[in-house]
Subunit: 282 residues, 2 copies
């Protein structure tokens, strides 16, 4: 059986950077915490926990120690609290997310009403939105943007993992709603690049294995994109979730992984596929 | 025969203002000139000439007197020359065009490459473009915008008479070409309002008379829009161009006029139609 890895798969720039920063902080020892999971990979979070890094849901209980800010960023209020408490801060916010936060802040300061294109429930969006000092709206689509009120100056910023087409639809609607429109193209192409590579992969194989956190939005989307092309698509978090029957009658299997999936898990999955193949033929 | 006048027809706000300013300046006497035709109506230009207001093509020959700046505006270089020569300036530039010029200047100052959506040959666009201090591009459509180079910060401004859909198409393309996009919605709805009213009119009548300068872009467009609905559409500048045979067998005739057509010409045309009808029945 041939195993094909997607041309682009696994850690994106921001996740790789955040993970490295977290492991370096863990190595330093001391009381170390992350505010929410550092990335959407339960396995990475577990590995850090094994090194003594605890996940906090809020800073209420914490008065001393090191706080690692996750790749998706936190709200301006949480950051302020950490500064006020004089905690040691390791800011692992993805630099692209940081830019989006800064744009919202400067747009707000300059008197723009801000429209954030994204998923209102996502921690990245909640962080970005918190930097607005005036009016701010979160819209998930052009249809939602069509319901926005009439404004004067409108600033638009996107969650970094949004699709370009969605930003385009929202911009189109906003153009009708104000006399000035200022758009910051804050979309990172890591998501689109992984989706395109996954589509290419799905066309070449009889079965696709998508690896990544079940809580990872971009991994779930990768699985959706692949299953539209190849029905034999399976989303797993770890190698032990792989079922041998998925590979029955398969000549070529494709492997891809979300932006928060570490290389070691991809390697383990590939080894497991090789093992299943060996067992079958041996 | 019933005569129906379009709900919105004739002088828009900027043209009305410019014409009033020009006639007031003419009334003051003295050496008075306009730089290019004050508006795209040869009859208004002629009336002003009869009052002693001459049309100049450039300021080269002029050293003294009053210069009236036409509704479409002039280039920043021409304005500077008039100031340097200490001419008396009557600035009849449409306030909406002025806004577009100011936006181009401030965008340029702030480091944006500027994209002007419009007709490169139109004096309004030539005026607007002249206010750019850095790179500036004129595009007539989304297709043309698709050929623009990659930029960093892009500022978009539209000729005031452009269609909203055209601006939308250009914005869509520009969004792919830079990391920041700033759009000023400089379109005046006078054009769209007249076109919509003309369409409504064309559906109700057996013949449409469109009145306005043969050099007026918006009048030509009105005639196009009407002729798509009613083939018996005729574009005239003055009442004496009306041919009685156009009205043969017509029960209802529609009348509309471009944004630079004065009321007195519309009235003359209506009187002429009434006369033709009377002659026919009498």
């Amino acid at each position: 059986m041939e195993i094909i890895l997607a041309k682009q798969a696994g850690f994106c720039f921001g996740v790789k950077r955040a993970t490295q920063m977290a492991f370096e902080a863990a190595d330093m020892g001391g009381q170390t915490f992350t505010l929410g999971p550092i990335i959407h990979s339960p396995q990475v979070v577990q590995k850090l926990e094994d090194m003594g890094v605890k996940v906090l849901n809020d800073l209420g209980e914490l008065d001393t120690g090191t706080i690692i800010i996750r790749s998706h960023g936190v709200t301006s209020g949480e950051l302020e609290e950490a500064v006020r408490k004089e905690l040691e801060i390791v800011d692992a916010t993805c630099p692209f997310v940081k830019k989006a936060q800064e744009h919202v802040q400067s747009l707000s300061c300059a008197g723009y009403d801000v429209v954030v294109v994204g998923d209102a429930d996502h921690p990245e969006v909640q962080g970005i939105v918190s930097y607005a000092m005036g009016k701010v709206y979160v819209v998930g689509s052009g249809d939602e943007a069509a319901k926005l009120p009439r404004m004067s100056k409108i600033g638009v910023v996107a969650q970094t993992t949004q699709s370009f087409e969605n930003l385009e639809d929202v911009v189109r609607q906003c153009l009708r709603r104000g006399s000035e429109l200022r758009v910051f193209h804050t979309i990172c192409d890591a998501t689109a690049v992984r989706q395109d590579a996954a589509k290419d992969l799905a066309k070449q194989v009889d079965c696709v294995i998508v690896i990544g956190g079940f809580n990872s939005g971009n991994t779930k989307r990768l699985a959706e994109v692949c299953s539209e092309i190849q029905v034999r698509t399976h989303h797993i978090e770890t190698a032990d979730q792989l079922l041998p029957e998925w590979l029955e009658g398969v000549a070529r299997v494709g492997v891809t992984a979300g932006a928060s999936t570490p290389k070691w898990i991809i390697d383990e999955v590939i080894e497991m596929i090789e093992q299943i193949d060996k067992d079958k033929n041996g």
